[in-house]
């Protein structure tokens, strides 16, 4: 890796200042996306601002109908949290399927959402679970937050502090993962609310998106049979050495039905 300056601020204000004065700067939390990207020279920051010492960003707590998770919470902590298991068990299971045990001990939910990899798992949960992404400058609704491949509503230097998920009646995630990278070839998150069902798809397209046809069918009848044979139109889907767009479109339908069954 190319050398860089390193700052480890103790407050959000210090972090923002270090980022602003750091030339081409990057935040690091778990580092399990940034460091591989730096090794391959996809990222060459002048300054790395380590968020790991910021206090108070690992809390998990339910407040009414919202489950709040601090941005620095690791995937392992979400996967094993009794609060998450009680409020949104499908979210805990999703966290337990990210990467592998060692990766889950390091990677953080805030890091995943800030990066917005088109095949990451958490974006589908955030979009389906009506998440609010709180930052040091305000808050973003998930519906406006995800803006395509690696693009979000975050301004330069804006820091996610916690994520609030609307507690659903039922929810589950089903993922067909790439066996080497463990990213989702296709992942589908289903969340049922009193005012309707939300379905978010990751891995299939250039960024996470909602699946209107599936939402309408499941809002009318929340059973796997209601979406039997449904597939995504392949026109906007990814095609690569791992899977064709048609394959991903079909797989999305299979994962959709699996998720609905798991949500039970």
């Amino acid at each position: 890796m190319r050398e860089f300056a390193y700052a480890r601020p103790a407050s959000l204000a210090e972090a923002a200042a270090a980022f602003a004065g750091g030339g081409e700067a990057a935040f690091i939390a778990g580092g399990h996306t940034l460091l591989p990207a730096m090794k391959s020279r996809l990222r060459m920051p002048d300054t790395i601002v380590d968020l790991g010492a910021l206090p108070g960003l690992t809390a998990i707590a339910r407040d009414g109908d919202t489950l709040w998770i601090g941005a620095l919470t690791t995937h392992a902590a979400v996967a094993t949290s009794p609060e998450v298991a009680a409020a949104i068990p499908g979210l805990a299971r999703l966290a337990g399927q990210i990467g592998d045990p060692q990766v889950r001990n390091a990677g953080t939910i805030g890091g995943v959402l800030a990066n917005n990899d088109p095949a990451a798992d958490y974006p589908s949960a955030a979009l389906a679970l009506k998440a609010v992404i709180e930052t040091d400058r305000g808050a973003h609704d998930a519906d406006d937050y995800f803006q395509g491949m690696f693009a979000t509503a975050l301004a330069d230097g804006e820091i996610i502090t916690r994520i609030g998920f609307a507690v659903p009646r039922a929810a589950a995630y089903a993922k067909f993962r790439h066996p080497a990278s463990r990213y989702a070839l296709v992942g589908v998150f289903v969340a049922a609310y009193a005012d309707g069902v939300r379905v978010a798809v990751t891995g299939a397209g250039p960024g996470v998106f909602r699946w209107a046809e599936a939402e309408a069918a499941l809002t009318a009848d929340f059973r796997a049979e209601a979406v039997a044979g449904m597939a995504l139109d392949s026109g906007d889907l990814n095609s690569d050495i791992h899977a064709s767009a048609e394959y991903r479109g079909h797989l999305a339908g299979v994962m959709l039905a699996d998720a609905v069954r798991a949500a039970g």
Binding site: R2, E3, A5, H32, L35, N105, A106
Partner: protein, 169 residues
């Protein structure tokens, strides 16, 4: 930058360039070459070490990120001249062929005991090894070794340390 951490029970203070990976500090600066670099892409687990008792991939951590924390490498798991029960089980059950992945596998075995206890099932062990690659494909004996190592840790001081943060034991 000046960095202090504890490695295998001993305090270490070094000037560390920020771009130095933890595995590079361990191997190149401190001569602890038991921690291996297999893939360098966070997948193979040969570089696993314990950070405050929790297994992580030292090829995907900056040394400066773990300043102030306690690192245990394969050289430090036993804590004495006697092998740790998990190491002894790898020898007893021939849980290695070329041996390259072994340090990471032993650390992964300790992580499995921390998270699942000493009575962990063989199926769970196999699943929990998803972050470790053995290019000799010697997984059957590795799983046997971790199972035996876990059982051997029951009731020993090693397990109280390992299960300090057990979550679903």
């Amino acid at each position: 930058m000046h960095t202090r951490l504890t490695i295998n029970g001993a305090p270490v203070a070094r000037e560390v360039a920020p771009a130095t990976l933890l595995v590079e500090l361990l191997r190149d600066d401190l001569g602890l070459t038991g921690t291996h670099i297999g893939c360098d892409t966070s997948q193979c687990g040969a570089c696993n070490v314990l950070v405050d008792g929790v297994a992580m991939k030292s090829c995907t951590l900056l040394a400066v990120q773990v300043a102030g924390r306690t690192i245990t490498t394969i050289e430090g798991v036993a804590g004495s001249d006697e092998l740790h029960p998990m190491q002894a089980a790898f020898r007893e059950h021939h849980g290695l062929q070329c041996g390259f992945c072994t340090p990471g596998m032993v650390i992964a075995g300790l992580e499995i005991v921390r998270r699942h206890g000493t009575q962990v099932s063989r199926e769970t062990i196999a699943h929990e090894l998803e972050g470790n690659l053995c290019r000799c494909t010697g997984y059957i004996n590795i799983i046997k070794a971790i199972e035996a190592g876990a059982r051997a840790m029951a009731g020993t001081a090693a397990v109280f340390e390992a299960e300090g943060e057990a979550v679903d034991a």
